[in-house]
Amino acid sequence: MPLRSLRSLTPKLIAVVLGGCLTVYLAILVVSARAAREMLVDGAQNEARAVATGVSYRIAGALGVAEGPPRRVAAFVAREPHAERRTLENLLRAMIDSSPGLFGAAAAFEPFAFDPARRTFAPYCYRQGESLGMKDLGEGSYDYFGWDWYRQPRERRRPQWSEPYFDVGGGNVLMMTYSVPILRDDRFVGVATADIALDWLQRFMDERRVEHGGYAFLISSSGRLVTHPDRGLVMSRTFANLAAATGDPSLREAARQMAAGGAAFVRTRDLVTGARAFMDYRPMPLEGWSVAVVLPEKELLADAGRLERRLGLLAVLGAGALALVVVLVARSITRPLVRLAGATREVAAGRLDAELPDVSSRDEVGQLNASFREMQVALQQHVEEVKRQAAASERLSSELRIAREIQVALVPKASELSVERLRWDVFGVLEPAQDVGGDLFDILPRGESELVFAIGDVSGKGIPAALYMAVANTIFKAAARELQHPDQILGRVNRELLAEGGANMFVTMLCGVLDTRSGRGSLSSGGHTFPVLVPRTAPPRLLTECAGTVLGVSEEIAFQRIDLRLDPGDSLLLYTDGVTEAEDPARRFYGEERLLAEIAGEAGGEARDLVEGLLRSVTGFAHGSPPADDIAILALRRPLEPGEPRAIRLRSDLAEIARADEWLQAVCRELDVSAEAGHDLQLALEEVLANVVRHGYGEKAAGEIEVRAWAQGDAFRLEVRDRARRFNLLEQDPPPLDDDVDGREAGGLGVHLVRQLMDRIEYAYEEGENRLVLERRRTA
């Protein structure tokens, strides 16, 4: 396990744990911050409302004080139509004197209403420092009839507060006038007024400082700012103007609502600074007036911000502490893992005794460590076991190699088997099993025409079997030279093996002697598998009468001898039990029946075909699994007489030419045909067969062709018989050789070759058969 992946466990843990915690914390933070803001805003709204309401009542109270005196004056004048001017002036003076909030008071009359001699009459008493002054507003040019404080109550017939205004004459003080119409018998005769200075109003409003840097201000019925912390705005600007100047829609909407006498708590902007602010506005108990309380958002929410910052800091600190804990936990998990990984690598590198970390915990890491320790021990034991086995197997395999070498060295090579001098066709194979079963075979020419041969199978395996086989073989070779019959030879081998004193070993052996000229001979068996006689023209058969007792067991054995005769073309097949006891994957034996069936197809064929065909069949039967026992197969075939025809049957198919060719080559070898003559015959046969297939039967048709070959003195004769339409090769015209060959009738060139290469060609059409005989000298 790479160390890096272990190290990355810690950051992974931190990421997961911290990520999760921070997410939850952040959610809490957001929710609580929002709640805190809402609470703050709610509080601010309540506060703003309280301030606004307080201001309303306070101002209403103050103004109420100013409303009493003019009412009383008006009532007096209405009641006393003939009152003296002095009485009126005294009344006014007494009122100012008794009402500290009043700045001045007047009674103004309609033309000639108070004194028929005077068009205008308006006595006005006012404060002048500590004393009181008195003047007639109707004197001089002061025509009061057009002034609001006179005109409006006259028109509306009810008392009314004027808009605030600066009293230019009286020390530039902000003033307001309350006018009460004087009605006598429902006839308007004038107004009684009281002025109050509003300088206290600003102070009062300034004292109504709202928390969080908020402030309150008043708006008159004409929309002017009556009080405002910014003195420059007072009376000079209307709220609507200022709102329009800021361009803020919420502020403009507030101005509209205010003018309509609405009340609301809105989030908007400061009229002057343009900063975000909350504003509560509501109508005053004074017609058309509004009071507004502004709370700058920044200051208001400063607390919320502080809270959030504090929570954030707490989150960071918490996360840090959590990270530390996670790192410590992760370390405690990964440290043993890292050490275990290191140990694993050492083990993987082959140091099986690598020391494992001492993990005592009972958690998963501890369990892992414990199982790894068990694995380590098991691995050590396993490796020891494998080493032991490897050493044993090496010893065994070198033994087997030696055994195999002994065995192979003793068996005659394929080249030695042809027994040239005797002209017999002999072929044998030995396929040693993995652990060498001790099979052997041998064949020796003797005298003018005799062959002595044997095949054997030593009990046991490995070197002992191979050596025992070597001994048996040596004894056989010596006995074969001296003794005439196979039973005698086996008797000698048996006795001498017993004399050698082989440790509990024995051997099955089959021995034979044949005269190559007559094909006559005899066989003796020492407990060996039955030999098979393979007649050229009849089914093969087991020579079950050829039986006996194994060699190397008892001296008191007489071996039987059976006579044997091989006709030309007949074969004798010898084999060991590696053939019949070969097993297929289902553990069925190959068996004798299968053996007979297999070689039936090879009857009359060469010894090599017989042996190799059988070996292929056996290995195919075992599905490629290596043989459990040695396989030895030996075949001896008495050649046909040279003059006896060898035959092959072919289907009318160009592909059959290859088979015919192989057959012909084998026959040529057997009949001592020279290479050049063989080539000529091969070419001629191919041309003739191609002709028969193409032009005789026609390529699509089914048909049979029989080819026979034999020697006749020095000549080799090849006969091709077919039952296709009558077709005489000899009647073909020779091709125009000097001409262009393309497009020439396909047969011509081939026929020409056949004619040129063969010494003689005979054609006959008999019994519905084309019979073509080609003849060629056997030597060049």
Binding site: E676, Q682, E686, E687
Partner: protein, 129 residues
């Protein structure tokens, strides 16, 4: 037995594009169609000289002869030449029987063929001067 055909272009200055075709195995009834097909690109190709190296050819029948002669004819039609080198005795015998040799230039080896061609070249140049 089967046939294998190996075609390799030989860049031989002075003689024009040359192709070397190695025939190995048997050129008989069964293998002739395959041989003809594999030789076809050379016949259709740009080579002015086509050399059949028959060192590995062990057997030829009339069907094989027809491939050789057909190749010679097709090459001649576009002014190209067929040469045979390393002809084995048994093949030479067959070629001889059908009198195919006069139409085809046969040499023992590539070297002998080169010498022959150089000689021809020399003669042409001398005749021209």
């Amino acid at each position: 037995m089967s046939l294998s055909v190996q075609v390799s272009p030989l860049e031989d200055a002075g003689k024009g594009p040359t192709a070397l075709v190695k025939l190995v195995g048997r050129l008989d009834t069964l293998t002739a169609p395959q041989g003809e097909k594999e030789i076809q690109p050379v016949v259709d190709g740009p080579a002015r000289n086509v050399i059949f190296d028959l060192a590995g050819l062990t057997f030829i029948s009339s069907a094989g002869l027809r491939v050789l002669l057909g190749t010679r004819k097709a090459l001649a039609a576009r002014g190209a030449q067929l040469y045979l080198i390393n002809v084995q005795p048994q093949i030479a015998k067959v070629l001889d029987i059908v009198k195919a040799l006069p139409g085809i230039n046969v040499f023992k080896s590539l070297k002998e063929m080169d010498e022959y061609l150089a000689e021809m070249q020399r003669r042409v140049e001398e005749g021209g001067s």
